[in-house]
């Protein structure tokens, strides 16, 4: 059982709106680990789409991702990957 953390930056021009939030939540739900996201002093469960949207994480904001569980490392890597790929969006917010 591992607990790992990573700081990630939102690279999407439009921030974490509904579409990327849905992609992220589909990703986090694939892993058995508990995953949380923290922006400033609010921490939410990253397996819940409402939680992610409540963060209102804009372009350039930094989020702290924490994964606790047997597949924590895989979870973090997968999340980092999806962040880096800007959730498959171009600058206009299209896929």
């Amino acid at each position: 059982m591992a607990q790992l953390q990573k700081e990630l930056t939102v690279l999407n021009k439009l921030g974490l709106h509904a579409r990327p939030a849905a992609l992220l939540v589909q990703m986090t739900n694939r892993f058995s680990s508990e995953v949380t996201l923290r922006k400033n002093d609010i921490e939410i469960n990253a397996k819940s789409i409402m939680g992610i949207m409540m963060l209102a994480a804009e372009y350039g904001s930094t989020l702290l991702v924490t994964a606790v569980g047997d597949d924590a490392e895989d979870a973090l890597n997968a999340i980092q990957e999806i962040f880096n790929r800007k959730f498959e969006e171009n600058d206009e917010g299209e896929e």
């Binding site: 739900n29 939410i44 469960n45 397996k47 819940s48 409402m50 939680g51 949207m53 409540m54």
Partner: protein, 315 residues
Amino acid sequence: MKVADFLQLQKDRFKLCLFTDEHTLQSQIINNEVSRPGLVLCGFTERFAFDRTLVFGETEIVYLESLPEEKLKSYIEIMCSFDIPCMVVSKGLEPPRLMIEVANRRGIPVLGTTLGTQNFNRMLAGFLEQFFAPQTFIHATLADVYGVGLLYTGPSGIGKSECVLDLVERGHRLVCDDVVRIIRVGENTVVGMMNEKLGHHMEIRGLGIIDIFRLFGIRAVRSRKRIEVVVQLSRWENNVQYERTGLVDLTTKILDVELPLVQVPLVPGKNITVIGEVIAMNHLLKQKGYHTAKEFNRRLLEEMQQDRYIDELSE
């Protein structure tokens, strides 16, 4: 909380004005304590709780104005030598000129209010208590079922939202889904509140995001509710011992407040909604003094006692 923010946002509600200069507004109120200055106005500084918001009523102002200049200067200087976050003069009265001067020099804001002292104290204490209340966010769904605040917890995807959706369908009310903001009020109460950003939306897997308020109306929602029972949903597991009699009252803690806990295993085909309603109703019964399981057992013990008595008599 910066006094500047307090003044700006609560000016109308608390009928406030400012006596000192603007630079004093940078001072920070650091706790929810409000009190009268007390004996420090006579120079008695031992046990002076200076980190509180001090309210000066009619008694204090009349006293200060009755002092000869030298004494007034001395006592004000002594009082203001402490790091007082904020002073307020009530009843529309004006503080002595000297007090404003010294406060300005020390960076202590002096506000005024037209409200009466008792009223202002009560209002401010209530406001600060809420502002400084310990708070947390938890991943859960909060519903008001028959007036009882039920907090549904459990792993993601287990069905908390769907459960509460069904409760709403049956006439109960949703406070908040997914991200519940919880604050502690006083020693023994926790209140769950909705977030303005999320409103009364709910995520139902397969369906997506729905707006309970728009779909079901005003009577299906509420903004905040005292949390009274925690309902923990879990996937049914073979080797776990579930509560069979209800004689043991399980509890859990949120923000250091102990709350009744009910663990409900989910089994396909079982109606979870009515279980939620019964949890609420049972809670109300217990509050009335009727503990079903205990009553049942008491009667059982009595009956067994009776039978044994009869057996012994007939020997």
